[in-house]
């Protein structure tokens, strides 16, 4: 078991004031078997009342609204979380089927066939999945700034490079194509930087985390925030407001191991 | 209904204004039209009409004026355009006004459309005035909610006052309409500019001399909301 201290900051800057700003933030570590939040504190600026909300995927979050004109929104959250490898044994059938961002292209299914040929069998167990992850990691380059939040698995794979979100999308697409349920996870990992994304794959009665960006299995240092079919369902911050404004969003996350 | 959103109050107010604008301008048009029949220089008549209403004289001649001012969809100042705007505001208010009340606005609109090729304008446009009268009558009879009626009438009397002042109606009519307007204004819960109301009161209280401060009065009226 690991005890992790984390901090999450999000700053949204707007070049002119907006109003009636509704937002939903889901930066609280998920309460799950194997993951427990010992302390948690979340603040926004401008200040507003936050109400606890839940969605159809089982994610919890805070909803708030700022009505008066404002030109920035800052969210800071910090806390301490204990993680044993997260163990979730609930399989929802929706994770078997393609979602908007993970529709496989001919290229993606071709790649799956290549790996299956190499294995000499379908990718059906942990061994096969590790090979699949390894080959994807070898094939796809980590290059920030090439893809966006709207990029699909097929687009990213065709481009050959992207960020953690794209790795996760492609891996999920490959798994589902091979008949294995898979889902998208947004979370935090040790160190400083942005939020991270990985995949969870259904393996013999439980979900197991795979991090194709780092070509590694998810361990006790990964803090899980949300999950869903793909990025869209697992979005950490989401909002909408009235007004015309250019926006710039900055995210800073930091996780340290305690003891 | 008595439950009115900001947007609906806006539509009510403007429905009142446009319905009144159609009514009063059409009514005045009839009088001008009648005068035009006897005039050697008919051009002068319609030009002064435009001037009083502060609408640009973009018409070729009298014939052009009559047709476009009444029926043109492209002329934003035409009676027809104003009727369309009255309709646009009314059609989203069916639940407030009732289908019955709303139907008179539809009828008035259809009446204008039907009169377009008329050879006897006043005669064929009379139904528009009838329909609008029926609309106001139906509103009073059918719409229970006072607040709704107050907002719409506030728009109506504001518009009427504006037009009466511009079109040179006698002082007594103006004073009468002003009082009707004030009566409604105090009953609605829309913010307005008190100092402008005071200024307008002061001018109207001058009696027949109010006309010496004609421009100021129009400005005050338009600044109330």
């Amino acid at each position: 078991m690991k005890k992790l201290k984390f901090r999450y900051e999000m700053e949204l800057k707007l070049d002119r004031p907006v109003r009636d700003h509704h937002f939903r933030i889901r930066c609280k570590p998920m309460e799950a078997e194997g993951q427990h939040c010992e302390s948690f504190l979340c603040r926004t600026w401008p200040e507003t009342t936050l109400s606890l909300v839940e969605d159809g995927f089982g994610n919890h979050g805070f909803a708030g609204v700022i009505r008066q004109p404002h030109d920035s929104l800052t969210v800071t959250a910090e806390g301490i979380v204990c993680v044993k490898a997260v163990l979730d044994t609930q399989l929802h059938p929706m994770y078997r089927f393609v979602s908007a961002r993970t529709v496989p292209s001919a290229q993606i299914s071709g790649f799956l066939r290549e790996v299956e040929q190499e294995l000499g069998r379908p990718v059906s167990d942990q061994e096969g999945l590790l090979v699949l992850m390894d080959r994807l990691h070898g094939r796809f380059l980590y290059v920030p700034g090439v893809t966006s939040v709207r990029t699909t698995a097929a687009e990213a794979f065709a481009g050959g490079c992207g960020v953690c979100q794209d790795y996760a999308h492609i891996f999920i697409s490959l798994c589902r194509l091979g008949g294995i349920p898979a889902r998208y996870v947004a979370g935090l990992v040790p160190g400083e930087g942005a939020t991270h994304a990985w995949a969870e794959v259904w393996d013999q009665g439980a979900w197991r985390g795979y991090d194709p960006t780092h070509n590694a299995l998810v361990d006790e240092t990964y803090i899980k925030l949300t999950h869903g079919r793909d990025f869209v369902d697992g979005t950490v911050d989401k909002g909408c407001f009235l007004g015309y404004a250019y926006q710039m969003q900055q995210i800073y996350a930091k996780v340290e191991e305690l003891e | 209904m008595g439950i009115i959103s900001l947007e609906k109050s806006d539509h009510l107010f403007w429905l009142g204004r446009y319905a009144e604008r159609v009514f009063t301008t059409l009514d005045s048009f009839f009088r001008y039209f009648d005068r035009m029949l006897d005039m050697d220089d008919a051009e002068v008549a319609y030009q002064s009409f435009c001037k009083e209403l502060s609408i640009p004289n973009s018409y070729k001649d009298q014939e052009d004026f009559i047709h476009k001012y009444l029926f043109s969809q492209n002329d934003p100042n035409s009676v027809y355009s104003n009727m369309l705007r009255a309709f646009d505001n009314a059609v989203v208010l069916r639940d407030e006004l009732s289908s019955k009340t709303l139907s008179y606005i539809q009828l008035a609109l259809d009446s204008i459309e039907r009169a377009e090729d008329s050879q006897a304008l006043v005669y064929d446009l009379q139904p528009v005035l009838d329909d609008l009268f029926a609309f106001w009558g139906c509103l009073d009879d059918n719409v229970e909610d006072e607040e709704c009626r107050n907002i719409i009438k506030c728009g109506k009397y504001l518009e009427r006052l504006d037009l009466y002042m511009r079109l040179g109606y006698p002082y007594r009519s103006i004073e009468k309409e002003y009082n009707k307007f004030l009566n409604r204004l105090h009953k609605i819960r829309i913010g307005y500019n008190l100092s402008e109301v005071d200024k307008l009161s002061e001018i109207i209280n001058l009696g027949d001399d109010w006309r010496s401060r004609y421009q100021e009065a129009l400005l005050a009226l338009c600044n109330i909301f």
Partner: protein, 486 residues
């Protein structure tokens, strides 16, 4: 992901009616004559009372125009409003026939409601293997955002529009279920109001159940699920195809017609903002905005017409949404096949009303049947809606048939095939004569504290003799539907 909700520039969703994909012959036929004879027929197709209505047609049309009985369509990206053509020859349903339909429709809608509660809850029907999960969780109508929501009184399908046709053997067949935003009830409602004015004798001479109680039924439904507050009808706006209906139903049911900007969420409650600033809590929203535009924070983030946060309020049980979001999973063309199974599974009864005989390419046995008999079947793509993706085998060349077979084998989940039903045409007035045309019936089934079938319905017909499409935007018209009281 952050999105800008730009002010104004609303997006409008043109209403899509549907298409009847059934063929039929044109001969006059005895069972209809029987029905009309009950209305003292002495002239073919038009009884005395019907004739009276025909004579008053001009007057009726004038009244329709006066009350603005219109629907909007988009042509070249411009909004136009048109009168919805009305045919005075009503569809007549006898009391016995209606009693039968009533039982069948009530049963069907009850089962569909159980199905929706099950799918967004325990999913027993899937676990028990009655419906393969492919047909549910990969359906476009299934919304995972609605997982686990228990709507007030556990009602999902408050207002169902079930489309039926009657075959020549007088058997009724269900064409499709509409559980999202079925529209059209206002038209027969106002048609009745106006025909009664224009031709009062017709209604004294016949025993026709008054259908103007629809608004009261609607109000009962809204009141039954109300969580405390006012009832509103939420319209996307004036430029929606069905705006007339939104405003008319609001007026008649005493609900407030609300635009999205009139509603807002605060402290997990939904409010209506009045012009002087005071706010009123909303207990029921009869929303005429599709699911995906309802809440930009939950569904389509680019939606400009939604109410941010409304889904959270709904999930907390603090407002009722009529109909429940996510109902699309139950009116999917693939799921349609399983409705009789649902009736059996949830209610332990045999389905009273029949589906058109349907084959699922997903099942090998059905697929083989489809491949063998393709030339006489009609094939529908389940991912398409609004009459698209419908192909008649009889209209295809040999090569095209072979191509279609290949596609079906490649993507069996995507296709269903149905027997072509030879259904009864209804007479419509054209000039001085009556001519037969394709028509269907949309029955409205309302569920509040009880499930009730409205004793009327929207009968739509195609004005083009060769067309199966009764779509209002394609020049189709409507008739009143009379249910006889004895």
């Amino acid at each position: 992901m952050y999105i800008t909700n730009k002010v104004k520039a609303l997006r409008f969703i043109p209403g899509v009616f549907f298409c009847i994909a059934n063929a039929s012959l044109h001969d006059a036929e005895s069972s209809r004559e029987e029905v009309y004879s009950m209305l003292s027929i002495y002239k073919r197709g038009c009884g005395r009372s019907m004739r009276e209505l025909v004579e008053h047609m001009e007057g009726i049309n004038r009244l329709m125009a006066r009350y603005g009985v219109k629907f909007g369509i988009y042509k070249h990206n411009e909004f136009h409003e048109q009168l919805f053509p009305f045919d005075p020859l009503a569809r007549v349903i006898t009391a016995a026939e209606f009693a039968f339909l009533e039982r069948g429709l009530t049963q069907r809608v009850k089962a569909l409601n159980c199905f929706l509660a099950d799918i967004y809850g325990e999913k027993k029907i899937v676990k028990d293997g009655v419906i393969p999960e492919d047909f549910i969780f990969s359906s476009k109508g299934y919304l995972p955002q609605c997982e686990g929501i228990k709507p007030p009184k556990n009602i999902f399908s408050h207002i169902a529009g079930i489309d039926l046709v009657q075959a020549k053997d007088r058997e009724w067949y269900i064409l499709e279920d509409n559980l999202r935003i079925p529209s059209g009830a206002s038209y027969p409602m106002i048609a009745r109001e106006l025909t009664r004015q224009a031709s009062p004798r017709t209604f004294t001479a016949n025993h026709i159940v008054d259908n103007r109680n629809y608004a009261a039924m609607l109000k009962e439904v809204m009141d039954a699920v109300n969580t405390g507050g006012i009832n509103v009808v939420l319209t996307p706006g004036r430029y929606n195809a069905a705006f007339f209906e939104h405003s008319y139903l609001a007026e008649r049911s005493g609900a407030i017609l609300a635009m999205p900007q009139d509603l807002f969420v605060e402290d997990n409650r939904l409010y209506y903002r009045q012009y002087h600033g005071r706010q009123l809590q909303v207990g029921t929203v009869y929303r005429r905005i599709s699911d995906e535009y309802l809440d930009p924070l939950c569904f389509e983030p680019d939606s400009l017409i939604g109410v941010p946060g409304i889904m959270d309020v709904y999930r907390s049980g603090n407002v009722a949404l009529v109909n429940a979001p996510g109902n699309g999973v139950a009116d999917d063309k693939g799921v349609y096949y399983f409705v009789p199974h649902m009736v059996k599974y949830y209610l332990g009864e045999e389905a009273i009303l029949k589906n058109a005989p349907t084959y699922l390419a997903f099942y090998e046995k059905d697929r083989n049947f489809i491949l063998e008999h393709l030339e006489r079947l009609v094939v529908k793509d389940v991912s398409e809606a609004g009459g698209y993706g419908v192909v008649f085998g009889s209209e295809l060349t040999k090569e095209k048939l072979e191509d279609l077979k290949k596609v079906i084998c490649r993507e069996p989940r995507r296709f269903i095939a149905q027997e072509v039903i030879d259904f009864i045409d209804l007479d419509i007035v054209e000039g001085d004569t009556a001519v037969p045309r394709k028509a269907d019936l949309r029955a409205f089934v309302l569920t509040g504290d009880t499930t009730r079938v409205w004793a009327s319905g929207l009968t739509r017909f195609s004005r083009n003799p060769d067309s199966f499409v009764v779509n209002s935007s394609q020049g189709g018209g409507f008739k009143d539907t009379w249910v006889l009281s004895r």
